[in-house]
């Protein structure tokens, strides 16, 4: 099978499975295992301090042996 075919199959199958997942997901609640998994974090649109630099990252030299 050529790479082009693999890409095509990946995308088409992905679309089909994604739609199935969406339909089933809207019909049934998601299964939970014991009592909990990690809870979703809060989305935040608050602007981050982009002026921050990476200067304080402690990057050390590698030791090649």
């Amino acid at each position: 099978m050529t790479r082009q075919w693999k890409i095509l199959i990946s995308v088409l199958l992905g679309v089909v499975l994604g739609v199935v997942s969406y339909v089933l997901g809207s019909l049934t609640p998601r299964r939970q295992l014991v009592t909990t998994t990690a809870q979703p974090a809060m989305e935040s649109s608050e602007a981050a301090p982009f002026a921050a630099t990476a200067e304080d990252l402690p990057i050390r030299e590698p030791v090649l042996e």
């Binding site: 992905g14 989305e43 304080d56």
Partner: protein, 474 residues
């Protein structure tokens, strides 16, 4: 004593931590068991097992799950719980959680065995080196013992424990191995520098198994279990020329199967790539991580230029070695534009599969501290997911930018393979996150990983399980 390990879900990649601990415990006369948490009737199985100790190997993102599981089991069974693995090692505060009796930090083989011996002798948890233990007087801890110097002296991991628990996986023809431990590099997002801190600079000195000892293990596994493909899972496969020449000779003569390993592109030379080819290297996993050289150098601590990455990828392709590139989108201080640079570099490098992850702030790493200090991350490690393919936990300039980065991660592999359609990917990233993008990512991963990187026979039941995961998984 009866010692039970519980893992959330047994998958085709072997749980090395548990498999490495088991032979040391068996040698001391303990009976060792393994259960999958998703087994129906888990509580009854645990009650039937009557374990004295239950061990959990915990990665960040799964800690809430294992803590809940432990509390659930403690409600009806009496046992000593031990949490080990990366999360307790780099986030030892987990010892304070209700139900956690002890944690094991770093290399656990000798430490866990000693802990169990002391527990059997005294009847209650005692602190030993590498451990923190809850006592009546509070939490007691001791620093780690020296790293195991001679890896060849260790018993082979107990694979039978794993395959006995999951007979289906016994038939999975890809087998994983570790050729070395440690890493000399200090990438800021990686656990290796934190291990180096824990071991006061000893972890950076890589310990390598002898080629003969390593091939002994692989040959033994090949003769006992159906094996078509070998995967080496350490951070960087040994590239010392002398070692590699001996390995290439031993491996091709006694095993002769295609293999996969992790490499650093800036360490590749014609000489070591030729030796890898001679040994039978079929595919490699290499970190491109980001297309922006400044971010790569100053933020990630990876000093390699884009031209160097390109020439190394060309070298691998000239030798017929397949490439899986690793990339991290959503870096703190990065942006949608810098992630598009990553896409562009991957399109130029032409890997056989380009895997993109959403960067996660793992505790103990310099980059997580940086993200927290500069307000990119709120420090809530409990909120992290099992998976780094789902969503980002850091703050960006706007929620729209975050959405575009999360969508780009899902469409990344297809976009690398179809560079002429980048304009469409740019448009699609503007849509809300949705199950279709997620399924395209997982389907592409499944098909390309299976056919390009890890070629092996797959049973219908395995394909069905994968499709089930695509539909129902997160």
């Amino acid at each position: 004593m009866r010692i039970l390990f519980i893992v959330a879900k047994l998958q085709s990649v072997e749980p090395f931590g548990v498999m490495c601990l088991a032979p040391h415990l068996t040698k001391d006369g303990h009976s060792v068991h393994l259960l999958e948490a998703e087994t129906p009737g888990l509580r009854h199985q645990v009650e039937a097992c009557r374990p004295d100790v239950i061990g959990y190997s915990v990665c960040t993102g799964s800690q809430s799950y294992y803590l809940a599981l432990n509390r659930f089991l403690k409600a009806s069974c009496s046992f000593v719980s031990v949490f080990g693995g990366p999360h307790p090692t780099f986030f030892p505060q987990i010892i304070q959680e209700p139900g956690v009796d002890a944690i094991c930090l770093g290399e656990g083989e000798h430490a866990f065995a000693e802990f169990c011996r002391e527990l059997e002798r005294s009847g209650r948890p005692q602190v030993v080196r590498n451990f923190a233990v809850k006592t009546q007087d509070g939490i007691a801890s001791l620093p780690p013992r020296p790293l195991i110097a001679d890896l060849d002296g260790l018993p082979f991991p107990d694979r039978e424990l794993y395959y006995r628990t999951s007979p289906d996986i016994r038939e999975h023809p890809v087998r994983s191995f570790l050729a070395s431990r440690g890493c000399p590099f200090a990438c800021t997002y990686c656990f290796n520098p934190a291990m180096d801190d824990l071991y006061e600079g000893a972890w950076r000195h890589v310990r390598v198994r002898s080629p003969a000892g390593l091939v002994d293990e692989i040959a033994s596994v090949k003769s006992n279990y159906p094996t078509e493909f070998v995967a080496f899972r350490e951070s960087i496969f040994p590239l010392d020329t002398e070692w590699l020449a001996e390995f290439a000779d031993e491996y091709s003569r006694r095993v002769g199967l295609p293999f996969y390993c992790h490499l650093r592109l800036d360490l590749l030379t014609k000489e070591n790539v030729t030796l890898l080819t001679k040994a039978g290297c079929y595919s490699v996993n290499v970190g491109i991580e980001t297309g922006n050289e400044t971010l790569r150098r100053d933020l990630l601590g990876r000093r390699m230029s884009n031209p160097r990455l390109l020439s190394s990828c060309r070298l691998l392709k000239e030798h017929g070695i397949r490439i899986l590139s690793n990339n991290m989108l959503g870096l703190p201080g990065g942006s949608y534009q810098s992630d598009m640079e990553t896409l562009k570099l991957n399109q130029a490098c032409q890997p056989d599969y380009a895997l993109a992850m959403l960067w996660q702030p793992y505790p103990g790493t310099a980059l997580a501290r940086y993200a927290e200090t500069h307000g990119f991350f709120d420090g809530n490690y409990e909120a992290l997911d099992f998976s780094y393919y789902h969503r980002s936990h850091i703050r960006f300039g706007s929620s729209q930018e975050k959405r575009r980065i999360e969508n780009l991660q899902k469409l990344f592999a297809v976009a690398v393979l179809l560079p002429k359609w980048t304009w469409l990917v740019r448009l699609l990233t503007r849509l809300p996150p949705n199950p279709v993008f997620r399924a395209i990512f997982r389907t592409g991963y499944l098909i390309f990983h299976q056919t390009e990187i890890f070629p092996h026979r797959k049973r219908v039941s395995e394909w069905l399980a994968d499709f089930h995961h695509i539909i129902y998984g997160r």
